[in-house]
Subunit: 572 residues, 2 copies
């Protein structure tokens, strides 16, 4: 497929435009089948993106994609066709909008709900600079549950600037969209009660237009033309209905399973922590009626589908509302329930204040099951789970656990059932299963004990694996060192730490070094005379790429760590 | 005033009930005039609270106060009349609801927007436990702008449980309430367009009732009775209009100024950082048209009233929407503007994800002016600004500045105008003014240089003052040590740190020790052979009390630090 130029898109006939859509769809499908990526969300918005590029004048006009996993057609239409085959690969183009990649990407996204706020900021800056262009926020219906979207809508009149909000309604927010907002949107789609809701939108400063079939260029083009005109006098909400996965029947039928996909034909070799979460929690809930599970729109990928089906009365997917989910858990715990809040590491950042203010401030027994910790790979900066150890360690009353493998994760979950305080368990997506052995809060595990002057503390499975590899290599060179599974960042195993006589200490963590595990060890061994080397991620945002490669590049480099071990060993 | 018993409240005549209201109002006024506290917000809800206690059966029924600065009458009516004179004093009762204080307080609050989520969690737990009682969320109209409130409303139907939401509409959220939601509420208050909005509420699963005069017991009592009945079949939104400050004309006329007050007759001896922010920013904006200021409902107490009046087109109070404000600033900066986001330390926790994801992820020149850092005193746990150094230090691309006094704060602001990256400046409420001297990013200042084996690094005015006191005392005992103004937590002044030969290092910060300034110094001096002592706040929530007393109690104890200096000095 050759590059499609902007002016070509504006000049061609409608049938040719439809052909372009077909070609884009094919290109997206083929590339995602090789590179992995967000499939069904991108397939659904091809016509909408083509229509936007036909009617608007990018990059002079600006578009902000909420979350951003629907920007592939936009990338293909903005001079990135050639690079598109490098999608999500290290050094290749990102699966999300990136200012650093193209002037057609005016604002970086990744987390839900930011687009309208961002569009308002861009539009307000435009007004203040006395410039003229259109600003578009492209938002999925799933994000419309998010509090941040509401905060932005609330300030439309305060800011007094005009933006076009495209509400891309496919009824899904990875999981099917839920809640009151969804019901309002459904009514609108069914043509009911339009007048009430439309008036409501108007009171917020929005002219409502819809519902337009977003997969039909004949309907879309005039609607967008009208909206562009209206922007001279008001902000516009254009409600567009699209079919997620359109064009490929297996995507249309399974939009949830094909939302984000791995390269086709590749099978996972490791197990998933999420499966263990689902199994353990479902089993625990059979005996403990107080257990409830709460998710924020990612139920399946967190492993909880079966729990939700088995205990529907004790399972709540509240949509993309990470903050609300956290407060809800705190209150459930305040009334004697035993809530488990499962969420990805990066998304829990949204609930930082509520972890402090609601859960830990009241010392309530909420268990946070934090998936996708560490480097997650192909999604890049906005999806790496590399800050959690730091932002959790600083919170009073919180116990922070980092299992060494899936078996230990299972033990921690079993332990959690009778634990009466806030608990965070953080783990990567994939790992090794093992037979669960009892775990005690705040107790490390010595994995290999030897008489040597070097001791290595590793937090979490990725670091334990790296330690094992280094140890195997060291043994071949007739070096030996002690390896400790530092499975609690908080409380630390002070007894074990105080008892160790080794002069040289190495710490490993798949988290930024600032404020993490290494800092805690440094603090404990302050003035001890021990020589310490901390390995973890440096103070930087980590882009997309292959997990192991990125990990080495950003601070967990086996060669470098090995050199330090050898150096320490030689001095011992 | 003698204690009012629950059953008395239920038995007395309406005129007697009104008398009780008068007595409560007097009690609140007198106590606040001595202890300081939230005055006008509490005066406005006396009748509403009395009516709730008459109609509902606390503590069997549960009430969650959003934010919580309207719970004084509730405290007086729930067996805490005697302790009320200890309001906000160290060891006395809190100005906010506290589970640890009374069984009548079922959920702790302090930050805005949590009450409906919490009420839903409590109600859901009730249903699961097959218990029967009513759950009430008492929420001000200001909080109705907050995204968290919207997330909770969105999940009413998902959770399928019934709560009573009292919307206490006084038109204020400390600052006057703003935005689309406010306009909708205003229309309702004026009796317009009720049908549209009411239907909208119904679609979210709420029966709307209102508007009731919340200062009129004759109207309130039957309305609450009806609402209590309705709760059997639906959640209810009871829209109540109250007059902030009612009963004291100077409070009614100046609800903003009398929202939170100091003990009457006391005058501040120190200057306020907020005044300097207002002066500097207003002056800078005269020459730099790109400067804009954004606040989240606290414009006056952040010192920006004059800026907002002078540059209304470049000043945005978006209401209690900390997250939206952060994204808005990022987008304004992405389009070349120079945004300043002024906010209290504790409230910025709400925007943690957006600081990472939107501002620093895109490396955009947003300046965060973070007021009320460190221990803030009488408001207690939920208002201490003791986590910011830790949650900011871990974020890549962010420069973190900690001025030593108000003059230096002015210099930092002047410097910020040409700084092209994200910048956070954190400062306490009060401090000392001085002549601004030039400041360079990442450069410490040696305040006192001497030949000694002890060096002390202090971050921020509170710690600089403590260092000075210790130094004066040390000189009297013929000890001397070097004092460094560590005015940048990030980047550290690595050149200065590397050049210092002192064997003994002391760090002071008014922040939790975990992940803060001391940890950064420990990391820098790792394996240097230096002996280090870190002083800052221990890993605990700090309750209400007097700032200096709490500070000493929780980790910045002058005696303890002095002993360490003497010990170090003796060994040097």
């Amino acid at each position: 497929m050759k590059d499609i130029r902007q002016n070509e898109l504006k000049a061609v006939s409608l049938p040719q435009l439809k052909e372009i859509c077909d070609r884009l769809r094919e290109e997206i499908f083929c590339t995602v089948s090789v590179c992995g990526g967000h499939l069904s969300s991108n397939l659904g918005v091809v016509e909408l993106t083509v229509a936007l590029h036909r009617v608007f004048d990018f990059p002079r006009d600006k578009i902000v994609f909420d979350v951003g996993h629907q920007c592939y057609a936009h990338k293909l239409l903005s001079g990135r066709r050639k690079q598109f085959q490098t999608l999500r690969k290290e050094g290749g183009i990102s699966g999300f909008p990136k200012r650093s990649e193209s002037e057609y990407d005016c604002y970086d996204t990744g987390h839900a709900g930011t687009a309208i706020s961002a569009a308002l900021g861009i539009a307000k800056a435009r007004d203040l600079k006395r410039e003229k262009f259109s600003v578009i926020a492209f938002v999925g219906d799933g994000s419309f549950n998010n509090g941040l979207v509401f905060e932005a809508l609330n300030s439309l009149k305060i800011l007094g600037t005009n933006v076009l909000i495209i509400l891309n309604d496919n009824g899904m927010s990875i999981s099917p969209t839920v809640g009151g907002t969804h019901d309002v949107l459904s009514e609108l789609k069914e043509g009911n009660a339009v007048s009430d809701d439309v008036k409501l939108f108007e009171r917020f400063g929005l002219s409502y237009e819809g519902v337009i079939n977003g997969n039909d260029l004949d309907a879309l083009l005039p609607a967008l033309e009208r909206a562009r005109e209206q922007l001279n006098s008001t902000s516009v909400l254009l409600h567009v209905s699209t079919k997620k996965g359109l064009g490929y029947s297996f995507c249309e039928q399974a939009p949830l399973e094909t939302h984000g996909v791995s390269p086709f034909g590749k099978r996972a070799e490791q197990s998933e922590y999420s499966a263990a979460l689902g199994e353990e929690l479902t089993a625990l809930a059979a005996n403990e009626k107080k257990i409830v599970a709460v998710t924020a729109a990612m139920t399946d990928s967190l492993g909880l589908r079966n729990f939700f089906q088995t205990y529907p009365e004790r399972a709540f997917d509240v949509g993309i509302c990470e903050e609300h989910a956290s407060v809800l858990c705190a209150a459930l715990a305040a009334e004697g329930m035993k809530p488990y809040y499962a969420i990805y590491s990066t998304f829990l950042q949204r609930a930082f204040d509520e972890i402090i203010h609601d859960v830990c401030g009241q010392n309530l027994p909420v268990t946070f099951c934090i998936d996708r910790a560490g480097i997650t790979g192909a999604d890049g900066e906005t999806h790496q789970g590399i800050f959690d150890l730091s932002y959790l360690a600083m919170i009073p009353n919180l116990t922070v656990a980092v299992p060494k493998d899936i078996g230990e994760f299972r033990s921690m979950l079993r332990l959690s059932a009778s634990f009466q305080k806030p608990l965070a368990i953080r783990y990567p997506r994939k790992g090794t299963d093992s037979t669960p052995k009892p775990v005690e809060i705040g107790k490390f595990e010595i994995l290999h004990n030897t008489v040597s002057d070097v001791i290595l503390f590793a937090a979490g499975e990725n670091c334990i694996r790296l330690a094992d590899e280094l140890h195997t290599r060291a043994l071949r060179e007739e070096m030996d060192f002690t390896i400790v599974n530092a499975r609690f960042l908080k409380p630390l195993d002070e007894e074990l730490l105080a008892s160790r006589k080794e002069k040289y200490v190495i710490t490993l963590e798949d988290n930024v070094l600032i404020g993490g595990f290494g800092d805690a060890i440094n603090r404990f061994y302050l003035n001890s005379g021990k020589q310490i080397a901390n390995f973890g991620y440096k103070d930087a945002f980590i882009p997309h790429g292959e997990i192991n490669s990125l990990s080495a590049k950003f601070g967990l480099n086996g060669e470098e760590i090995y050199r330090r071990i050898r150096d320490f060993y030689a001095r011992g």
